[in-house]
Amino acid sequence: MVDQPLDRNVGLKAPAQHEPTGHMNGRRPHDETFDIIGPGHDLETVTEQVIGVVLKDRIRIGWVIFLGFSLALLAMLGVAVSYVLVMGVGVWGINKTVGWGFDIINFVWWIGIGHAGTLISAILLLVHQNWRTSINRFAEAMTIFAVMCAGLFPLLHLGRHQYFYWLAPLPNTMGLWPQFRSPLEWDFFAVSTYFTVSALFWYIGLIPDLATLRDRAQNRTLKILYGMAALGWRGSNQHWHRYMAVYLILAGISTPLVLSVHSTISFDFAFGIVPGWHTTIFPPYFVAGAVFAGFAMVLMLAIPLRHIYGLKDLITMRHLENCAKVMLATGLMVVYGYFMEVFTAYYSGNIYERYMQFTSRMGTGPYAWAYWSLIFCNGVAPQILWFKKYRTNLTCLFVVSIVVSIGMWLERFVIIVVSLSRDYLPSSWALYQPTMWDWALYVGTFGLFLTLFLLFVRALPSIAVAEMRELVHHESHHGAHNGAHGGHLTHDPHGNTIEDRDHTGGTKEAFSGSA
């Protein structure tokens, strides 16, 4: 199969000899579109543009520098992990009162970030949101890398790392099973399942693109590598049929995971009796928070990505705006959660809960700054996204995304550290102060994430080519993307109509920066 490098999978429509609209050529850099795909694209240009990033683009110096930086952070992660393994978790700032610190905060935070990828690729697929197409691939990659970063922490946070596998239900001579009542045990299953399914889903989705890469690669080594990865994909009807079925099934499996994984993680706290943890609102509130943080991360990745690799036609303003809207919506859900925490604490009349909410978090507690920063980051800052002007301003979006990411990190800090630091017996109250190893580990995971992401961008198509071609096909059939009329209708392959916002060409021009 590998030695039959026929470009079969683009056989939906023979690639016409087209004017070279390949990447970075045909369009000015600041042209923005609110369509889900820029004008003038056909199957070939889409393929060229995406595949070109992998196969034709030169190794840019900026990429190398950034990769070097990421590798440096990764090395720091290596040092931080080794040090913890050698010395024990006592190198961190945790103590007898606050038993979880950065380790679990970062775990929850990274896992939360991962959720957006799954939401985009699975849920939006199932509900036929075809605008997801150009962002799902890298969002899924983001999910996998984020889960990898997240998965590091539960392993490292163990006092005796070497026995992490005791959490797995392995047969052993003592006939001893894990304790299935423990939310940590549920975590173990939830996260491992999540990682497995996400990786599978991502890989299945990649297969047709890998075949394209195989077919287009000039280098024999690459051909072989991509060929092996493509698992002999020939683009036959049968392949497509089965591919679609599997993809849909995996999407179906992934969908509940979006809700269940973070719910399960929220049980780590909701299950506990610590004031500030023991609440029923956590599962939905955590899921909303995860999506919130995840979309912030998607934006933080998409905005530079489309800029650097000239993918503005494919990741259009429409995508970014949609992401912003999701952020706004989930942000409001999260704020509702905060409000309910306050209300429940008040209404319960429980002095411990009241003290936690009104004194430790909002009042004179030593970490009140964290709570109010979190309220600003997650509650106040995203409200700017109500305004289209700011919603479609890339700088603004990027900044809000960063603020939201920080806010979501602070939220976990407030939940974990602030709650633990002042629980029932005042005699045991203690403060938590992260050490340099806490920070090194945290920052180090950025190294892991960024390294993987940078390699991914160069080695694999960061936009799902096959799906884009399908999209182009549909778009060209309906021919509704010339921007002449205002609110336009987008049809997905099944004929469902998605009404997008009403906007005028004038606005578009204002934002695209060109007449």
Binding site: I94, G159, P426
Partner: protein, 1233 residues
Amino acid sequence: MSNNAKPSDNLQPANFIPLTAVTPSAFTHREVSDVTPAAGAASTVGAAPSVDLDKVRERLAGTRGQEYWRCLEELSEKPEFTRYLQREFPRQAPRDMTPLSRRDFMKFMGAAMALAGVGGCAFQPAEKIVPYVNSPEEMIPGIPLYFATAYAMNGHALGVLAESHMGRPTKIEGNPDHPASLGRADIWAQASVLDLYDPDRSQGVRYLGDTTSWDNFAGAFAGAADAQRARRGAGLRVLSETVTSPTLGAQMADFLRAFPQAQWVQWDPINRDNARAGAVAAFGRDALPQYRFDRADVIVSLDADFLMEEPNHVRWARDFIQRRRPHRDKVPMNRLYVAESTPRNTGAMADHRLPVRASEVQNVARAIAAGIGVGGVSGGAVTGAGAAWVKSVIADLQGARGRSLVVAGSHQPAAVHALAHAMNDALGNVGATVEYSDPIEAAPTDQVRGLQTLVADMNAGRVEMLVILGGNPVYNAPADVKFAQALEKVPLRIHLGRYDDETGALCQWHIPESHYLETWSDVRAYDGTTTIVQPLIVPLYEATRSVHEVMAVLLGQGTVSGYDVLRSYWERRLAPQLATLRSRVGGTNAGASGTTGAAGGAAASGAAASGATRGGATAGSATTGGAGGSMAGAGAATVGAGAAGAAAANVATGGGAISTDSGVPADRLTLQTVAFDKRWQTILHNGVVPNTASPVRPLRVRAGAVAALPAAPAATTGIEVIFRPDPSLWDGRFANNGWLQELPKPLTKLTWDNAALMSPITAERLGLDNEDLVTLSYRGNTVSAPVLMMPGHPTESVTVYLGHGRTRAGKIGTGTGFNAYALRQSSTLNFGSGLDVKKAGGKYRLALTAHHHMIDLERGEKKLDSTFGRDLIRVGTFDEYQKGHLPVDAAHDKAGLPLYQDTLTTVEPRNTNSEEEEPMHPNGLPSVYPENVDPPTIYNSAENDRPPYAWGMAIDLNACIGCNACVLGCQSENNIAVVGKEQVEMSRELHWLRIDTYYKGELENPEVYFQPVTCMHCEKAPCEPVCPVAAPVHSPEGINEQVYNRCVGTKYCENNCPYKVRRFNFLQYSDQETPQIQLMANPDVTVRSRGVMEKCTYCIQRINNAKFQAKKEGRHVRDNEIVTACQQTCPTDAIVFGNINDKNSNVRRLKDSGLNYGLLTELNTTPRTTYNARIRNIDATLKNPGEVTMSGGEHTSDHDGSQIDSPDDATTGQQQKGALEGGTEHSEGGGEH
């Protein structure tokens, strides 16, 4: 360096384990030296014939000018000069004069390789495991033995039982037969076992920085003593700590006889100079007040912390608390008034506490004395809040004549003591609540004056030889005495001490002192009762000697074992007829020394001697063998193993003397010896010498004594400084004891440091905050100290604890805190005014184990409630209690407690044939545990399918004095590691048991409550379901067990524990490398390592031992058969453990009390550990300004009508059931009674 004092030998503990034989390590050394080329060359050089130096000089002399140099070169070529050089500078000698041949090179290389291999092997001492040929009596591997001995601090003995595992003392517990202990121990006695194994202990005799041997010292010492003897000891001084040992007292008398011009000075930085002077002022003679707190209804403490600091505090705490158990003992509750400077435990227990500056206590004392009609009192006007307090005290004292007690603190001046004596006398308390006896010291002196005289002599050059027997005067002498400078003027300085400390560093000779657990001695308790201190182990380091052995050398008796000195003294004292008999044999001392002189290691032989004597006295042991039958095996267990020891024993006992020196028929002498031995065995076994308590002296305060007291000092101005012994480190002697360093000091919860303690009000005035560094200047001396605000501290007053700031304490104690002795003056030994406090700038981090009571001045709070409004401590008043108003709301609080099944009465085992009714609780719900174990297994036979035990604990807050003894008992029993200051700063201390302290009320004078908190063993433990690997599990008997080797360290259990009693090994805390520390570990408890969660187990090892025993004897475990380590040591019996299913058990009785409540029961954890509310016997007419409404009042008002009417009777379960129903069913509650 002499051969027998190689460092490697010193590091090597002597034969501590009877099964171990240590191969001499010299063997390998010899092998090496024979082969090494360098050594070979050196030996040839050493063997070179001596150079005729004169010849060389001659030649040199004949040369001049430049020729000289040429000639020197020529000279150097001459073979004899070369050899001379090589001999003088062997390191400069060429390795080999001839060039190496290839073959030789190869040979050397080969040898070097081989040797490198040898060197790489860490030679473990060969351990031969051989069975006993003659098994030591009573020793069963795995079963500990207990030996009675005594621990002394400042000369005051506390009788203890030392637990010994296969010859290793592992834990110290009180001796129930000892009057100062009554089976309980304080923190210092318990921590003393760690001192034994301290690797920083001095291990070899040192002379001018070089290690030398005891024999060298003994020779030099005897020579110097002889020189002094010729001068009648005019230049000889001995400086010791307070001497209460009768044997040492006899040696002191011998010494003063032998050296009539010499002087023996005693110095303890915490001494009873004031008390002594006070007694002299009152009675005209020295006397010790023997307080009977159990007989007093009204107690007034004049700055006396008699619960923790004063001598005899263990006994006094026990006596005091006997009268504070309204629910248990049907005696009226006492009332405690405390006028206190530094807030201490006694003040925390007070019903009415008056914070006064230390200098004003005398004023208060005078006011009270005047009020109760002591004649001749002048001064004493107390104004402000104190006036009401004094008025109330006077009224109460007058209402309790003969049933009251006034106690003065040791650090208060003599006048306060005299006033206290006068008040007790005027109130008719003498003979009722206080009796007087002779002081227990061998030679009571004014220690400050003694020290000053000594220093004056030293400065004047009158002291040629100073023998310092223990103590650390260079560190702890008052600053103005300038002891260190004076010491350097003494030509010969000899220091005997367990550590080569600050004093040792300034002495030419340093002799390591044996620990009390490895030596023979005797010591007296506060009431005079004498205890023989017997060793449990051969000295870990063979160079160590006891004070008696050093004194014997000084007295010209040569190297005598301490055992012989002691025994001969007691033979003389106990059996005069025997002593006369033996004197005909040839003098006890000489005879004894002659017999043992041959045996190497005098201390070893002394200890061995005890083994042998006991071996011969089985009859005695059989008759006296009580609980544990511990005595007879003592010597055998500790020493009997080594063959050398046994041989030495044979020589050392009387038998040897008989065979060698004759003159008396052997059989007659043997009979006498056996008679003495029998008595001796009994004494050793019981730990007390009978009839040695001081007799009561009928003393009356002299007429006019009070009037003759110097007038009260005028009110002082400026800030006052108070010097107090550290609540953990005492005077600094425990500075290298990690347990005590890390023990949170009562009230402040400070560890590893001392601080300038002051009132928040003073701190605010001075613009200081916690942890601010300040410069304390007092009479020209300055130290830098961190500030710690202490609620209840009198204003304009700063307390500094002594004992910190050591410079040569050891790895642990050096450099913790600041040295408060640097401020201490001999004229103001305890307090004085005129302290200058200046902000030095900068912060110093203090390691506190609890921060909730830290005051935030910025918030401007004047009231303090460190419970943050949480209902953690229930408090009621005695009046309310008598009216049946309890601070515990039965309906609310009892609902969350475990329910009892009454499956067992201790007396008869369950009748398994009778039809069993499911025992039901009044509420109708059975307890979760014990649960049915189904189906029956080999461990649970069918008729015993329900475990009869449900373990539980009750802690009586009324009895807890916050003395920390339980914390240390737990640490010692359960091998709890010390984590160090940095880890405590990070809130990672490991104590399984902590004493929470809560303040309520005004900053000036808050109420203080102690609450020991340990694992509650919740029936529905929140820690259990959250662990992913099921490390915390519940036993059928209701114990929340932590399976260490299953724990992976998620810390989830710790997070989810509302009581925060779980402790995590964040790092490798337990010392698994230091061999000495390993010896100390309790073999019954796992030593935890990194990454494992640990916590209180209710001393599961003790529970299981008791269950094994009961099983063997075919019975149930009896009540009080299991005593947890914390319970065992609690001086006040505040902690009670037992089977809550047993209606008649002590713990059940406490739990059935209407005062019993659970902590955080609203969380539905159903804790097995519960608390009994505190009852304060306050004077209704006197309301402390700081007092706020107690939480108990709120409860009682809610349930006014339904409370039980006669709580005093509510002791039986049946009645308590009624009481409970009374609480739950309002309408019927009253009808039940």
